[in-house]
Symmetry: C2
Subunit: 408 residues, 2 copies
């Protein structure tokens, strides 16, 4: 029997999906599982857009152009322009979700064994994309104590070496929910310009900012047009993750040309998803307003419940729909598996993503977990009942740290 | 301005799509362009399946599981089993088209700087996928004189070295239309077993075999279950290229596990495309029978027209919907560009794929082109009128070779 590749052996496993088998098993045993592991919202995809897809006359489901269906790209351009961005059709490249967008940027801009700087905790699949492209990650650790704010600019600058090609951030952040300020983005841009490296910003959660938080796109950095590429998608904004339609927006013609070379191999992003995405651009603004109110409420519920649990450390995230909390446990990988395999509370349990997979640094995040608040408040409360009970009876609980002891 | 990656500079450009700008320009100038460059059929996607997608109640377009929507996978399994194949659900992995399937197989089974053997002319994007995965291609050249039949097994064996991990073939073949015999597949399988390497077979054209030609799937090779992976897709069979739904079928659990690790990063193949693909499994057999009759007629038209053109070398392909012909020209890259930019016949021209891009060996295929017979016979005839005229007046025509002179 021939061996698989060595690179498969070393390959990082997604913390978001790796417990899927345990969850299936829990369901097979009759447990109700609350899925808070994956950013798959329960919000309806806008019905008006789904209706438009049904009404569209498409007798042949043809390949799309490699760079995207032109009418969709044109409408996106108009939307950017109407918001004051200096974006033309040729600056937009449609991808198989934001996932492929990041992969293409790495292939186009970074060579094997060069590196990119990413604040951690980071979106776990960035590690996978980097492995796929043989690119090294230099992580800069952000801290739960300040709600995982963007680390100081000095830390970024200190990490830049001769092999650094880009800084990659996710704003609003997955997995922490942190929203980075306009000042922080401008400062990071200036650093990238100074060192002549790329700034990649994953902006897929840009529609989700709560309270006083305001999103500031890196596309505002006109002085940095040759260095900046942003990634976006319809997945989260319109609860259409399965459409698999994302995009790169970039004003550097050479980067776009390089992306096109790699993207031509896979022919095109899905046609039906792009037809849906085009229809989504016509959705009334009230849809997102209502969705934002809903997420704000969920976040409040989650923050309140977590704050009341003994030994749990958390903060109030300003955006996206995640919170990255610290639990009084030994090992979140084991705990999350235990939740599915050995625990139940009134026939129910929950699925979380263990924290270590969201760090590129080894040994970090072992007592942390990511919670996606993608369920309604009633279900979230039930899931939190389970979590509270679970922490109470978990056999490998660790002593609360000094700070927590004071609180008690 | 930061530089793009060195790997982008070296990157091969798809011969199928690289002349897209010239074609757009030709259309902008008012020319009618016959697109014979790309395997995008004009055949209708089965209307009954499209109707089922419209009727499907999908209020949220959710992520699919990374390995595919389970009901779709189960129906595929049933179909394989009904044809006598020993295939279970866990042997099937749904991908973003056959393109991603090949990429995943390379990542899972072959390390950087190892090699795979492919008969050429080859599907051009195999070169791109191999570059993406840093895998070397060892080509074995097949010949137009015998209709691009699979080269002798001795040639394959001679090419195997200590870094060879797999043989990859496409059957029926893109770009040649050759259909490989049962005996040739069995012999190739035995060779792979002897040297303990993988056999990857791209079977996306399996539904398209004409005259006396019969398709023989590598999944029949039960003795070789640990070595074989086949790739398939709904794109060609059901004229649904834009669905972007392909699959890997493989009975090697370790390979599937490695594929899953890499595939989890991109989350999932498109949901709407998979819903369509599931509906396509219910399409009446008469659909494919009619489609086959249609392609047989087109192939006949094309073969007849090409055979009548002075200095054109061709053969009668047994499957798929391509013919790979040799023209009395100096340089097909230049010729194909010239067709779009400097030629017209009664306001019309045609787009072809230049041959050199279908060879991994340098310097081969320079006077060859791939024609996809994806248009109806009337349009094909008009396109051949253009080609005949073009060859007649092309300024850089080369002297016909000795054999052709004899014929005249």
């Amino acid at each position: 029997m021939p061996n698989i590749s060595k690179r498969s052996l070393g390959t990082y496993e997604s913390p978001i999906r790796k417990l899927a088998a345990s969850a299936n098993q829990a369901e097979a045993e009759g447990k109700k599982v609350y899925y808070l592991n994956i950013g798959q919202p329960d919000i309806l995809t806008p019905p008006s857009a789904l209706q438009k897809v049904k009404e569209k006359d498409l007798p042949i489901i043809k390949y799309a152009p490699s760079k995207g269906i032109s009418t969709y790209v044109e409408k996106l351009t108009q939307q950017y322009q109407s918001k004051g961005f200096d974006i033309q059709n040729e600056h937009i490249y449609i991808t198989n979700g934001a996932s492929e967008a990041i992969q293409l940027l790495l292939m186009a801009c970074v060579d094997a064994d060069e590196n990119i700087i990413i604040p951690e905790p980071l979106y776990a699949n960035y590690v996978g994309f980097s492995e796929y492209a043989s690119v090294q990650i230099k992580p800069i650790t952000s801290q739960i104590e300040d709600g995982f704010a963007l680390p100081n600019i000095e830390k970024f600058e200190a990490a830049i070496d001769s092999k650094t090609r880009a800084i990659l951030i996710c704003n609003p952040n997955n997995p922490t929910g942190a929203v980075y300020s306009k000042e922080a983005i401008i400062e990071l841009g200036e650093l990238c310009k100074k060192h002549d490296i790329f700034l990649f910003v994953d902006e897929v959660y840009s529609a989700f900012c709560y309270d006083e938080f305001e999103f500031y796109s890196a596309l505002h950095l006109n002085d940095l047009a040759q260095n900046v590429a942003i990634v976006d998608s319809v997945s989260k904004r319109y609860s259409a993750c399965g459409a698999r339609v994302g995009r790169i927006v970039c004003r550097n013609a050479k980067v776009l040309e390089a992306i096109n070379k790699f993207a031509q191999y896979r022919l095109s992003a899905p046609t039906l998803g792009q037809v849906l995405s085009e229809a989504l651009l016509e959705v009334d603004a009230s849809y997102l307003e209502e969705v934002n109110l809903e997420y704000t409420e969920r976040r409040n519920v989650l923050f309140e419940r977590l704050s009341q649990m003994d030994g749990v450390k958390c903060y109030k995230p300003g955006g996206a729909f995640y919170v990255f909390a610290e639990l009084p446990i030994d090992d979140a990988d084991y705990f999350c598996k235990w939740l599915l395999e050995s625990f139940e509370h009134e026939g129910q349990t929950l699925m979380l993503s263990p924290g270590s997979g969201f760090y590129a640094s080894p040994e970090l995040g072992k007592n942390q977990i990511r919670i996606a608040y993608v369920l309604n408040s009633t279900d979230l409360n039930k899931a939190m009942d389970c979590l509270e009970k679970a922490i109470e009876i978990y056999p490998n609980k660790v002593a609360l740290d000094a700070k927590m002891m004071e609180k008690i």
